[in-house]
């Protein structure tokens, strides 16, 4: 039976929203991988730590969840700076950064479990029930907010990297550090800033996760595969890449669920990844 236009439209919207979350989670990962040569697996654990902090500040501290952005994001920026300083101090190679940050992921997961237990935590706020109606379609506020955040951060980062001196210096340092340094670029300081920004993005993603999802420590690992696919399809170090690739994956998955079968959806992201890698391979 042919799916109704409403079903298809709602599925596309759903795909865009989940894709925005893939993009938001992938932004910091893509920047640190592409520009700092660090494959930061701990990015996912940080996002969930951000989500739990948002839960705590909102449910116990009584703060509005959106206000927690102003606490979580700066705190994570500092964490990112510290983490990069440590990795740089010991000259961790890209491959080793994968191992080190996996270890950090396990530590953060244990920390979360120690504080909040492995049981489920759900942040109940009035935002959770807010939704807009556009014709026959529904737009949930929390997911729309995630889309806005992802778009603002991705486009903003792209614009800074593309059109400002700071961004040009960052790109130059990522391209060839010693040559950039010869032109007066403080590579170390820029790397610290970039790492802090990436971690801050994880914090923002955490706030969005807490707004839309029930939390459990083990869910850290549920996002890794698909977000890695979004980052690789989008191109390492390209701030718009994860959002666009995330949306493509999200919409493809959602349409697969709506038209064929939900069980087929996980095949989509990795099939797309293989396809993109094959096409790219031919080009080079």
């Amino acid at each position: 039976m042919m799916p109704s236009p409403t079903l298809l439209g709602q599925a596309v919207l759903s795909g865009i929203f989940i894709g925005a979350l893939y993009g938001l989670l992938g932004l910091g990962l893509s920047l640190s991988w592409g520009m700092l040569r660090q494959i930061n697996l701990a990015h996912f654990a940080l996002a969930f730590l951000g989500a739990y902090l948002t839960y705590q500040l909102t449910s116990v501290g009584g703060l509005d969840p959106l206000l927690t952005l102003f606490i979580v994001a700066p705190a994570f920026f500092l964490f990112g700076v510290g983490m990069h300083a440590l990795l740089a101090r010991f000259a961790i190679t890209p491959f080793n950064s994968l191992l080190v940050t996996f270890g950090l992921t396990v530590i953060i997961e244990s920390l979360i479990q120690g504080i909040w237990t492995a049981d489920y935590r759900r942040m109940e706020t009035h935002y959770g029930t807010m939704k807009y109606k556009l014709g026959a379609f529904y737009i949930p506020f929390t997911e729309f907010l995630t889309l806005v955040m992802a778009a603002l951060l991705s486009i903003g980062t792209w614009a800074i990297l593309r059109h400002t001196d700071l961004g040009k210096a960052m790109r130059a340092a990522a391209e060839d550090g010693p040559i950039a340094a010869a032109f007066g670029v403080n590579e170390r300081r820029l790397a610290l800033m970039l790492s802090g920004f990436s971690a801050g993005c994880a914090g923002v993603a955490g706030v969005c996760l807490a707004l839309s999802y029930t939390l459990a420590p083990a869910q850290i690992y549920a996002w890794i595969g698909v977000v890695f696919a979004a980052v690789m399809i989008g191109g390492l170090g390209n701030p718009l890449g994860p959002l666009i690739a995330g949306a493509v994956i999200g919409i493809s998955e959602a349409l697969t669920m709506a038209v064929i079968a939900p069980a087929w959806a996980p095949l989509v992201s990795f099939s797309l990844l293989i396809l993109v890698l094959l096409v790219r391979g031919k080009r080079t």
Binding site: L13, S14, T117, A118, K131
Partner: protein
């Protein structure tokens, strides 16, 4: 010379006697060690926490009453990380390295089946609490403490459909949407067959991979299908995520049943009011008319709050866990020993009083009766609504 020989013989006899008596004495004062694993980390850890808490409470209660066979009981519980292969290794270790006296099953079907293989290799009795696919329990000395019966894929859906039929508001169409998590999928397939037999028209069947993140399109398909009743084969948070996704498109099915929900989040969610689920125990009368159950509920509520668990109520998981301990200790006490074969033989011939009722193990694969009831979320709490004689005082199934 004879005297010297006699004295030497007596001294030797005394020494040998003491020497032999010493280990026996020491053994009788040493604790009985019960080994098990639980998914303390990994995707199953939220529920496994309940089993850890229950085990700690039970062992404390047991030791306060003098332990087992006059010896204290020590529970050695290790983390299987929610992985069957890890569970298999640790059960091997518990038997060969820790040399535990008894085993108790881990949490969830996959890990139980893994542990069962090890128990079988060493001829150890294995009492377990959460095996969802009885067909997989082929070992002769395994005993289920979760009273789902030998064919829950048939009996549980029938109980649910009986409950719906008794409301006098017949439902004609059904949507079966299910996770591919093995024990859940098994029940959903059974529900499809039973629904067909009972004259339901299946308007939608969907399956998704365990770990699915986006429930929006599934919710839209359910809404499009307009079923009278939705059978949600979901485990843990999956059911909540689907219900939330349906609410986001302004849709709530007329009636919905969730197979293995996360009980706390589902009871508290505004999206799942009047949702149904299966249960063996809820903390209200008549379940709590049993004095042991009432005491356990009180202690569990208190300890769960202290352990910072968001949901402190006793329900199926905690009750199944407590029952497993009751079954194991009943077998030890009845046989007055730790002989696995003797305990196994005794359990096959006798029934055990547990907080979920009398359990028997004399049917297919040592399973007994299906004691599952139907519960419903009403005013943010789970209450049993079917069968009527197990319903919470004043409660009945609400059909919008």
């Amino acid at each position: 010379m004879k005297l010297v020989t006699r004295l030497a013989g007596a001294a030797l006899g005394l020494l040998v006697g003491l020497g032999l008596a010493q280990p026996a004495n020491a053994q009788s004062t040493q604790p009985i060690r019960i080994g098990s694993t639980l998914a303390l980390t990994g995707p199953l850890s939220a529920t496994a926490l309940i089993h850890k808490l229950v085990g700690e409470i039970y062992v404390e209660q047991l030791n306060a009453k003098g332990g087992l066979l006059g010896r204290k009981v020590e529970w050695i519980v290790k983390d299987d990380q929610s992985k069957p292969d890890v569970a298999r290794t640790i059960y091997e270790q518990l038997i060969t390295v820790d040399k535990v006296d008894l085993l108790l099953g881990p949490y969830a079907t996959g890990n139980i089946v893994a542990a069962m293989g090890v128990a079988q290799r060493y001829n150890k009795i294995l009492v377990h609490h959460t095996l969802g696919i009885p067909n997989l329990a082929k070992y002769d000395m395994q005993f289920p403490a979760w009273s789902v019966g030998a064919n829950p894929e048939t009996t549980v859906p029938n109980t649910v459909f009986d409950a719906l039929a008794a409301t006098g508001k017949p439902m004609k169409t059904i949507a079966v949407v299910t996770s591919k998590f093995p024990s859940v999928f098994y029940m959903s397939e059974g529900a499809r067959a039973v629904a067909k037999q009972r004259g339901f028209q299946e308007v939608l069947f969907l399956e998704w991979e365990f770990g699915n993140r986006d429930y929006g399109p599934i919710a839209s398909r359910v809404k499009d299908a307009k079923p009278d009743f939705v059978w949600v084969g979901a485990i843990g948070l999956e059911g909540n995520m689907l219900a939330e996704a349906m609410k986001k498109i302004d849709y709530t099915p007329p009636m919905q049943f969730h197979m293995y929900p996360a009980p706390g989040p589902m009871a508290k969610s505004p999206d799942t009011q009047n949702a149904l689920a299966a249960s063996i125990f809820e903390q209200h009368a008549p379940f709590t008319s049993n004095a042991v159950a009432a005491e356990f509920v009180k202690i569990y509520n208190d300890r769960a709050a202290k352990a910072n668990l968001p949901d402190t109520a006793v329900e199926t998981q905690a009750a199944a866990s407590y029952s497993a301990w009751q079954v194991l200790t009943a077998a030890v006490n009845a046989t007055k020993g730790l002989d696995d074969k003797a305990m196994s033989d005794w359990l096959k011939k006798n029934q055990v009083d547990t907080i979920q009722g009398k359990l028997r193990f004399d049917r297919q694969n040592n399973f007994g009766d299906d004691l599952m009831k139907v519960k419903q979320v009403q005013n943010g709490q789970w209450v049993t609504v079917w069968p009527k004689d197990w319903a919470a005082p004043g409660a009945k199934l609400i059909v919008p």
